[in-house]
Amino acid sequence: MSRRYDAIVVGGGHNGLVAAAYLARAGKTVLVLERRDVLGGAAVSEEVFPGFTFSVCSYVVSLLKSDIIRDLQLSRHGLELLPLESTFTPLPNDDYLIRWADHDKTRQELYRHSPRDAEQYDRFGQLMNQIGMAVKPILEMVPPDPSRLSFAALRELVKLGRHFKSLGQEKFAALAKLMTMSAADLLDEWFEFEPLKATISASGIIGTFMGPRSPGSAYVMLHHYMGDIDGVFRAWGFQRGGTGEVSMSIARSALELGADIKTEAPVSKLMVQNGKAIGVALENGDEFYSKVVISGLDPKLTFLKLVDEKELPQDFVTSIRNFRIRGSSGKVNLALDALPNFTAIPGYGPHLRGAISISPSYDYLETAYDDAKYGNFSRQPFIDMILPSVLDPAMAPPGKHVMSCFVQYAPYDLNGGWNDAQREAFGDAVVDAIAQFAPNIKDIILHRQVLTPWDLENTFGLTEGNIFHGELSLQQLFFLRPAASWADYRTPIRGYYQCGSGTHPGGGISGATGQMAATEILKEWR
């Protein structure tokens, strides 16, 4: 019989680690249990091929909350973000579009394509900033439950109403429209140069099962813009040593604050007594007891796998069953003998130090989406790439490189299901798509790791391979995430909490859900 903890966190993903660190910081005894041998969940670095280290899943960071960085002293524990300097979009006519971290350079480049867009670009950035600022307080608030008429719930609703009122008519209207419109419609109101619109719209489809013309994609775009709130450009950065080091910095902080962390400790179920969580049992039969248990897993695993359905109200189980979590993306990690050579900008250059986006037009992205709608992976996929070894040479052996390719669309429900042949065919489609713009790519690939949604599910515990632990669609946000009446990190089981991306405010390496869950738990303990 091992010692009894105040709190057990199931899953050593970054949100679980953040929750653990905050609880330890408040003087609680905490145990983190991670199924794999590495920490970080989807934010991991692994040496997949000898000498080549990859941010296997999540590969760029921008949303990590600054108060978490401060509170947990993450910089002291190894957090070091190397800024991405540009977003480079090669075009089929061997031209290109490049947006720089440097404002004036971007303006110059946009002028080359469309003076009108160059003028509009700043104003658009301002609008997104303003709307981002308007949404931020909502993201940082525990969702009220409009179906309860308790005093506390009403107070929260009034607070929300006041916030909206404070925005004023114009900003509120922009926000309301943005919540439901398509990224393409929004951008069409602002710009004319198609590759610019397509590349910006791409952040509205990442991780979703939508095309840029699908209503709802504007909100996802905004979600990804949240990272720029304190900066000017889309302030994405690459963590030295890979995204796993973000998780490791949180883990080191948690350890220093006194938390225990066990890897290779897969939890098989939540132990419940009289409707209250009392601990967890591991697959090997070990049991750990605690006052509270916090799940960093997605809602499906949290409620349908770890918990016996009998412990939950039937309508809640139905809600969780209906929670949409379709994965739509894959990841291709390449070990390269040399740098890719783009026809649009040959040779080495600063364009390789940022993001490279294969998103030349709306039609390109929509066609990619059409494939997925009917159960195929995209023959010509949208790809968002970075070359981490250019920024951090330690990621690859000298002279060699690693390339990280986020790919859409790869539907979880592939016709006929995913298998080895399909996985390779998908990898080939990705390499072919890159080769259209960087023809030497095929000759320089030393190794290739292809991750399909099934792989993401099997390896990282992302149900259906969804990188956000549940789609960021309007009916799964705020007080509906993951289910009505249970969006405040609590669950129908006393002492059982949720802290993963499947809760408000959702996915991305922000740490927000872990932090908010810890705050709620500590509130109850006081």
């Binding site: 114009e170 429209k177 439901t180 939508m210 209503p215």
Partner: protein, 526 residues
């Protein structure tokens, strides 16, 4: 002479407003540019001796007080609700029937899926609960969100009745369902393709989006407001044709002293110091009035008739951003006999709506073409044969058939709307019908095709959108026609809107006209 109010456009909403204002003692003039009243609710002899409902075939819901207060329910106006309301023929020789009686429908569904048949009554109950909230919402003026005062909350008291009856949980459920896609909504209930396709078809009516778009669940609910008896996709055919509804309204108006002038094209709304005071006709005639009420769409009214020069640039931008994107064509056929559909055993099957919607993906694929500016090769068709229920519409033994076709995008990427493109559209419709009714082509005596461009030119529907603006969530409730001006007023004093471009939007409901007149009468009192 000087009128109290001039109403531009004798569409049914304009006529409803005219009646209400005349009842309140106003001198009202209605100006209609076409040869007859009714706007899109008309019946015309498009082919000698064959009468067609040119734009809209049937009604689904009328503002509840309309019939009673306007005393329309007499000999002049009779509605026949067909049963089954919708029949969906399938390529394999089966067919699905949706009837008013739930158990009859369930029996029809059972041939495809036992589980779906079991779920049917639960589904229609749920839909009835959700639309029970929409109905009072549709009868109210949208509040000026986010600046809500107590009086606005009081104006929303209509929601209390469904709230008391179904509880706050159902209201939260409505918030969850509104932004859904049709597959998301249907996945929670049904598996069989014909049922999913047939239900999804009423979620795309008039929309340039497929059923997989966010917010199609809202349009689905919109099209079922007022349907309480469980008949989904209800269809009420007006005896003598849809025009009789408008004629009855016009008669009621004239009885109250309203002047109605047809063939009177309004060129300009006359404004002075931001005040509307009259209209200028194409003939050069001028009419003065204390207030002008426009039944035309918001863009026509504000950009064309008022003119940009008289509007604030910010407001102009908002109006220009209203999305129309008509994607519907109408095809009218004079037939020398009843068509013989392979699968129909009963003549009753031909009396309601025949829906070519074998599966949801069929509809989405039809949309895919429109996304790239092409007409669907395999379009979604909604077919009616009104002469079967009302023999006065066609010569003895002959029949009229009207087809609503989607998708036929207003903006074609290649070519334009002309005789050739319309002929191609007709052929795609005929070949689709022939798949289900072999030999059907031989029955055709004559045809009329109305493209979205024709609808724009003949009926003043911007971009051919039958609803005066896309029925999507970003143009819903307090955002219709634009945020800040959803109370039927405009920035021009004494100028009001009363058409489908205002809340609650399209369909032959009379609700926008009713709500607008309430606001006008309120302003009169103050």
């Amino acid at each position: 002479m000087r009128y109290d109010s001039i109403i531009i456009g004798a569409g049914h909403n304009g006529l409803v407003a005219a009646v209400r204002l005349a009842k309140a003692g106003q001198r009202v003039l209605v100006l209609e540019k076409r040869h007859s009243v009714g706007g899109i609710a008309i019946t015309e002899e498009l082919i000698p001796r064959f009468h067609f409902n040119t734009c809209v075939d049937y009604i689904r819901w009328l503002h509840p007080r309309l019939l009673k207060e306007l005393k329309l329910e007499d000999d002049r106006f009779k509605v026949q609700w067909t049963d089954p309301s919708v029949v969906t023929p399938l390529p394999d020789g089966n067919c699905l029937r949706l009837s008013a009686d739930a158990s009859t429908t369930a029996e029809s569904i059972r041939q495809f899926s036992k589980a779906d048949a079991e779920n049917w009554s639960g589904f229609i109950d749920r839909i009835a609960q959700l639309v029970a909230f929409l109905e009072p919402l549709y009868s109210m003026t949208p509040p000026p969100v986010p600046d809500l005062g107590l009086e606005h909350l009081i104006s929303m008291r209509g929601l209390l009745k469904p709230l008391r009856k179904y509880g706050r949980k159902t209201l939260v459920e409505l918030l969850r369902v509104l932004p859904m896609t049709m597959p998301e909504l249907l996945d929670e209930w049904f598996e069989s393709e014909p049922l999913r396709g047939t239900l999804a078809a009423s979620a795309i009516h008039g929309l340039c989006q497929g059923p997989m778009a966010v917010g199609t669940a809202y349009l689905f609910l919109h099209n079922h407001v007022g349907c309480r008896n469980g008949a989904l996709r209800p269809a009420g055919f007006v005896q003598g044709g849809m025009g009789n509804f408008s004629n009855a309204l016009a008669a009621a108006a004239e009885h109250l002293g309203v002047d109605i002038r047809t063939n009177a094209i309004v060129r300009k709304i006359l404004t002075d110091e931001n005040q509307a005071g009259g209209v200028l006709l194409g003939s050069g005639e001028e009419f003065k009035a204390h207030r002008i009420i426009s039944n035309a769409g918001p863009s026509v009214t504000l950009l064309d008739l008022v003119g940009r020069e008289n509007l604030e640039p910010r407001f102009t931008r908002q109006v220009k951003a209203i999305k129309y994107r008509g994607a519907m064509a109408r095809i009218h056929l004079a037939l020398n006999d009843l068509p013989r559909f392979r699968v129909f055993t009963d003549e009753a099957d031909l009396r309601g709506v025949i829906s070519i919607s074998p599966k949801l993906e069929y509809l989405e694929q039809a949309y895919d073409a429109a996304k790239y500016g092409r007409c669907s090769y395999h379009p979604y068709l909604e077919i009616v044969i009104p002469s079967l229920t009302d023999s006065t519409l066609a010569p003895d033994g002959k029949h009229t058939m009207s087809i609503t076709l989607q998708y036929a995008p207003y903006q074609l990427r290649q070519g334009e709307w002309n005789k050739g493109t319309k002929e191609a559209l007709l052929q795609s419709a005929l070949s689709t019908v022939s798949e289900y009714a072999p030999g059907f082509g031989d029955l055709i005596e004559d045809t009329v095709v109305l493209s979205p461009l024709d609808l724009e030119e003949q009926f003043g529907l911007t971009e051919g959108n039958i609803n005066h603006g896309e029925m999507m969530l970003d143009q819903f409730f307090f955002m219709r026609p634009v945020a800040g001006w959803a109370q039927y007023r405009t920035p021009i004093e004494n100028l009001y809107l009363c058409g489908s471009g205002t809340h609650p939007g399209g369909g032959i409901t009379g609700a926008p006209g009713w709500n607008a007149s309430r606001e006008i009468l309120r302003d009169l009192k103050n």
